[in-house]
Amino acid sequence: MEKVLELANVSKRFGSNEVLKNVSLDLHRHEVVCLIGASGSGKSTLLRCSNLLEKVDGGTISLFGQDLGDPRIDPSLVRRHIAMVFQSYNLFPHLNVLENILLGPVHSLKRKRADVLGEAMELLERIGLADRAKDFPDRLSGGQQQRVAIVRSLAMQPDILLLDEVTSALDPTLVGEVLDLLRDLAQQGTTMLIATHEMNFAKEVAHQVVYLDQGVLVERGTPEEMFSAPQHEATRQFLGRVL
């Protein structure tokens, strides 16, 4: 499979705090990679560096073979291909559900509104929220909001979907509906880089699981390798605590 995203020896500091230390990672088309690790292990920062919300301090990130550290790179062109979903949904409160979804395609991809409208409604149909198209985000439950946020990224028809602990802010009863949607996406071959605390979900959908500890990529492998026979003591301890 084609390599779409490649991190090579990436380092990132916030002041004197080193959040990523020499992290190298590949993502291929149709691959699902789950990042696991304690809070503060650098999962989110890794995602945010990948779509240029943060600048790296060392190493390179390449998207389709192009070095994102090159000053001639236009971040908004990059982000049209690599979408991101956040822990706190970040839907736009002043726009209704449909307008939230249309914003990217219309004002970023400059597509005609009439052309996107059908696709947007289809996406809403798919998550069973077509009848809420005219509602404002604050009328929806957390799970519904997060599913809309996922669909908002999908409307950009991105090559890669970055998901940053998208179920962590949700009421436990609402986590299932969001994970179901992600399972569907995985089955359809969506390329995803997922930071998550949901170990069973990672076990189920990931092709590769990556364990980060204090900014260091400790270990990676298939879910079977990682969950049944972790090689490193740190990984064993972490999995022992969360499973």
């Binding site: 971040p75 982000r79 991101m84 956040f86 970040n90 736009f92 914003l103 990217g104 970023s108 950009m156």
Partner: protein
């Protein structure tokens, strides 16, 4: 020693608590606190209003100079005469003067909206090319929020004509007044806009950027529409004080309501025109004040409701 005391009082408290355990607690307020509940509360509020307001009127009415004040400030005949004016006696109408105040603040408010936004936007841009403008707009807000508006009015009203700069030096006092008001209030309003823009959570900006929106589109489609809601109440507050401050332009000789009242007062030796002008200003500002308060209240309840 201190620690020993602390421990003792704790055990004592436990002893007290355990001895009280048997009797159920009572939640009724003591009698003296029950007086003002229900209908009694309504009676009490009416009574206190009548007494306080009555006392204020009595002080005004019975003051040693009360009769003089009533004659010089609240004389119905002079109030009407100053309101309509008398061109033959060279008396300007306070009512007509107010029209000058109204067009001055309408024009100033439009200009202030425009320049305030430009200054706020300039100050927040990140382009290296705009660095000098960033510095200048910061300097501008610092300077004009710090100078009393009366001084700005004097400087513009007497300074610009002195420059002999063609059209710019050949305007009426009211026009110079508008310029001075615009200069000062743009500085205030720029800060209001900046605070509003900063009030939009970072997550909104990340989400907009992640959809590939440019900086300009992020500002226009995501930040500004949300900032407007926070900005409107403080903006209207500034507009209320701008409306009143049009009266200061009278120092340049612009014949607006205050100036007309002053002319009437110095001709007929009666100051009722001032009271008329004050009343007219109130008629103008009170609707806006009420409207602003309603908006603030609505926003507060909405926030309390959790969104």
């Amino acid at each position: 020693m201190a620690r020993h005391l602390h421990e003792r009082s704790l055990t004592e408290a436990l002893v007290v608590a355990s001895t009280q355990e048997s009797s159920a607690p009572s939640f009724f307020a003591p009698r003296r606190k029950r007086l003002l509940v229900g209908r009694r509360g309504l009676v009490a509020s009416l009574l206190s209003s009548v007494i306080i307001l009555g006392a204020l009127v009595a002080v005004f009415w019975l003051a040693p100079g009360g009769a003089n004040v009533r004659y010089f400030f609240f004389n119905p005949h002079d109030m009407w005469a100053s309101f309509v004016g008398d061109p033959q006696k060279g008396l300007s109408s306070v009512g007509q003067g107010l029209l000058t105040n109204i067009w001055m603040f309408l024009i100033s408010e439009l200009l202030v909206l425009f320049f305030g936004l430009v200054i706020a936007w300039t100050r927040m841009t990140q382009s290296p090319v705009l660095a000098p403008f960033r510095f200048l707009s910061a300097l501008y807000t610092d300077i004009f929020r710090g100078i009393p508006i009366l001084l700005v009015i004097f400087m513009v009203g007497f300074g610009l004509p002195a420059l002999s700069l063609g059209v710019l030096s050949n305007q009426s006092p009211a026009v110079y007044g508008c310029m001075a008001l615009t200069i000062t209030y743009s500085a205030y309003v720029a800060e209001v806009f900046r605070a509003g823009i900063h009030s939009v959570p970072n997550g909104q900006i990340f989400a907009a950027r992640s959809l590939g929106l440019s900086n300009a589109a992020t500002m226009r489609r995501v930040i500004l529409p949300q900032a407007v809601r926070t900005v409107i109440p403080p903006l209207l507050n500034d507009f209320i004080s701008l409306q009143k401050d049009t009266a200061l332009v009278s120092v340049l000789g612009a014949v607006e309501a205050t100036r007309a009242a002053q002319i009437y007062g110095s001709t007929d030796f009666n100051f009722s025109g001032y009271v008329v002008a004050a009343g007219l200003f109130l008629l103008m500002t009170i609707p806006l004040t009420r409207f602003t308060d309603r908006l603030i209240e609505r926003d507060r309840t909405r926030r309390l409701a959790g969104n």
